[in-house]
Subunit: 322 residues, 2 copies
C-alpha cells in the first residue's frame, strides 16, 4: 500500500467535520476559516516510542495519548479545541496498528470536537508530532505570567499516579503491593490522561496563571514562577494523592519522586485570594476536583514544605536529554 493510499484510508475519512474547514486533507494545504474576533492558541508536542511512552504501549493508547497531551496544552491556556495536524513516523505500514491508533485518537477528537486537517506519514522510528490549534480571547488566556504574590496555588485531580503506571508498564514483575484494579487505575492514568479542557475554560473567568503538569509539579510550577517574576511555597501535606498512590507508598509518600513525576496532565493554576471562594464553587458545580496546595510568594523559586520540614528538591523534572 502506498503512502497516499494510507493517508486516504486512515486519515481522510476518519475525522469529524467542522464548518470552519473550507478544504481538508488532500491538497497542499488545508484551508481554515478562523472565527472573527478570536485569537488562535497553537501548540506542538512530539511523542517518541521508548522516550515518551514505553515501547510496549498499545497503538490505541498511543493514539489517545498523543492527542491528549496536545489538548492538555490548550487546556492550560483555557482555549477551545478546533484543529489538529498529525505527523506520524512508522517503521513500516501496518493497517491494524494504524486503525487501532486512530481509534484511540478519534475517541478524544470526537469528545472535544477537534478535527484532523492534515499531516504527514513517513517511514522511520515510531514518532508522533501533533500541532493543535484552539480559539481563545487573548485577554482571557491563562498565561504563565498571570500569577501574583499572594495568589493561591491549586491543582486539579491527583498527582503522581501516572509515574506508578509507568514503573509498572516498564517492569512486569514490579512488586507494587497493589491490587490489579489499583494497578490498572495507575496504568489508565499513564495511558489515558484526561486533558483538563473544561477546567481551563472555567478559569478564564478568573485572573489565573496555569500550566499542565507534563514534566512534574515542581518544575512546571517553576515555569509559572519564572514567567510571573515571583516564587511559590508549596504545602506538600495538602497535595492531593490517590488511594492507589498511598497504597503503593504504604502510606508514606515519597515527595521527592511525586513532585518530579510527570505525565499527569492535571492543571496547576493560581487564583487571587479574593476569587478563591467563587472559583472553588464553580469547580465544584462542574464536579472538577481542585485542591489548594500553596501560595505565590515574593522569594523566587519553589519552596516545598512538608509541615515544618523544608524539602531539598534534588531533581528538576523529567528531562528528555538526561
Amino acid at each position: 500500500m502506498s503512502e497516499f493510499d494510507l493517508i486516504n484510508q486512515f486519515f481522510k475519512d476518519s475525522t469529524l467535520k467542522r464548518d470552519d474547514i473550507l478544504l481538508g486533507i488532500g491538497d497542499d494545504c488545508a484551508i481554515l476559516s478562523p472565527p472573527p474576533g478570536k485569537s488562535l492558541a497553537v501548540s506542538t508536542d512530539t511523542l517518541i516510542s521508548g522516550v515518551h511512552f514505553p515501547k510496549s504501549t498499545r497503538a490505541e493508547d498511543i493514539g489517545y495519548k498523543s492527542l491528549a497531551v496536545n489538548l492538555s496544552d490548550l487546556a492550560a491556556m483555557g482555549a477551545e479545541p478546533a484543529w489538529v495536524s498529525l505527523a506520524i513516523s512508522l517503521p513500516d505500514t501496518d493497517e491494524v496498528w494504524l486503525k487501532d491508533f486512530m481509534r484511540g485518537f478519534n475517541e478524544l477528537s470526537q469528545k472535544y470536537n477537534v478535527a484532523l486537517i492534515g499531516g504527514d506519514t513517513t517511514q522511520g522510528p515510531l514518532s508522533i508530532t501533533i500541532n493543535i490549534t484552539g480559539f481563545i480571547s487573548e485577554k482571557l488566556a491563562l498565561k504563565r505570567s498571570n500569577a501574583n504574590v499572594g495568589d493561591a496555588i491549586f491543582v486539579t485531580g491527583t498527582i503522581g499516579d501516572a509515574f506508578i503506571g509507568l514503573k509498572a508498564a516498564l517492569d512486569n514483575n514490579l512488586k507494587t503491593g497493589l491490587s490489579s484494579r489499583q494497578l490498572n487505575y495507575c496504568l489508565q492514568r499513564l495511558n489515558r490522561p484526561q486533558p483538563q479542557i473544561k477546567a481551563g475554560q472555567l478559569l478564564r473567568a478568573f485572573n489565573s496563571a496555569a500550566i499542565d503538569i507534563s514534566d512534574g509539579l515542581y518544575v512546571d510550577l517553576k515555569h509559572i514562577c519564572k514567567a510571573s517574576g515571583v516564587g511559590a511555597c508549596l504545602a506538600l501535606e495538602n497535595v492531593p494523592l490517590s488511594t492507589e498512590l498511598l497504597a503503593f507508598y504504604n502510606g508514606k509518600p515519597d515527595w521527592q519522586t511525586i513532585i518530579n513525576a510527570g505525565d499527569d496532565y492535571e492543571l496547576c493554576f493560581t487564583c487571587p485570594q479574593h476569587q478563591v471562594t467563587e472559583m472553588t464553587q464553580v469547580m465544584k458545580t462542574h464536579q472538577i476536583e481542585a485542591t489548594c496546595i500553596g501560595k505565590m510568594v515574593e522569594k523566587p523559586g519553589v519552596e516545598c514544605w512538608n509541615k515544618t520540614e523544608c524539602l531539598v528538591v534534588k531533581s528538576a523534572g523529567y528531562n528528555h536529554f538526561l
Copy 2:
C-alpha cells in the same frame, strides 16, 4: 544543558517578530491574531535523516530545506507565509549543530517573514516536523481541483536537477562527467530548493490549479488530475531541463527517471488557454521561468509523449514506504 535552556537559547531569540504574534515561544501555547477576512493555509511536513535527506547533509542545509519544503506547500496554494512551528528530534544535544541548523532555517524565515511561534525538542533519531501557516483568500487558492479540460500545463524552473544532486550526495565516487561547478549546482538544487512563493501568489490572479513537485512531476500532476476529475497529456520534449542535467545524461535525458524524480519543489500548474498570454507576461515581468509542458485532457491519468512515442511510465514517484 536542559531541554528548556536549549529551547530558550536557540529558538526563542532566533526568530523574527511579527505584530500578529500576541504571545510567542515560552508558554503552553502561542497566541496568534489572524488577519480579519482572510483564511489560513496550513501544512505539515516531516523530514527524517536517511529518508528525506542523506545522513551526510550539513545541519545548515537541513535547517534551510526543512523550512523550504513547507514554504513550498504554501507556494502551491498561493498563500502568504506567516507562522511556523518546529518539532525537532535529536540524538543528543549539540549546540554547534543547532546553531548551524537555525542559521539555515533563519535564512529562509527572514526572507519570507515567517516567524517561529513554538515547537518541541526531544531526544531521538534526527527528525524534523514543521507545521506552517499562511494567509489566503479561499476563493483565490490554487486548489488541485481547479483544473479543466483544455487548460495548459506549466512548470516553473527545471526538473530533475535535485535527483542528480541526490545521487552525487549518496555516492562520492559517482562518475557524473560534470564539472565541479555543475555538480555543485545540482547539490544546491537538492539542498537549497527555492520555494516558489512569488509564482504561487502571482497565479492567484488566474484560474489555476497548482502543486509543488516533491514526489515527481508524473505523480504530482496525477494528483491534480484526480482532484479535478480530468487527465493530462505531457509533451516531454517541452519539459525544461538544465544544461547540467543534459550534460549528466550526455544529451539523452532519461525521461523515466526525470519525471519520477522528486525534491525539485518547482510548481506544476494549470492555466486556462485564454489566460495563458497574460499569465506568461506576468511571470516574465517577475523574472519567473514558466514553461508550457502539456495540456489537460478528458481521458483520466497522465500520458507522457516524447514527440510521437508514448512513454510507459514504470514507477509512480517517490514513495517513503517502498
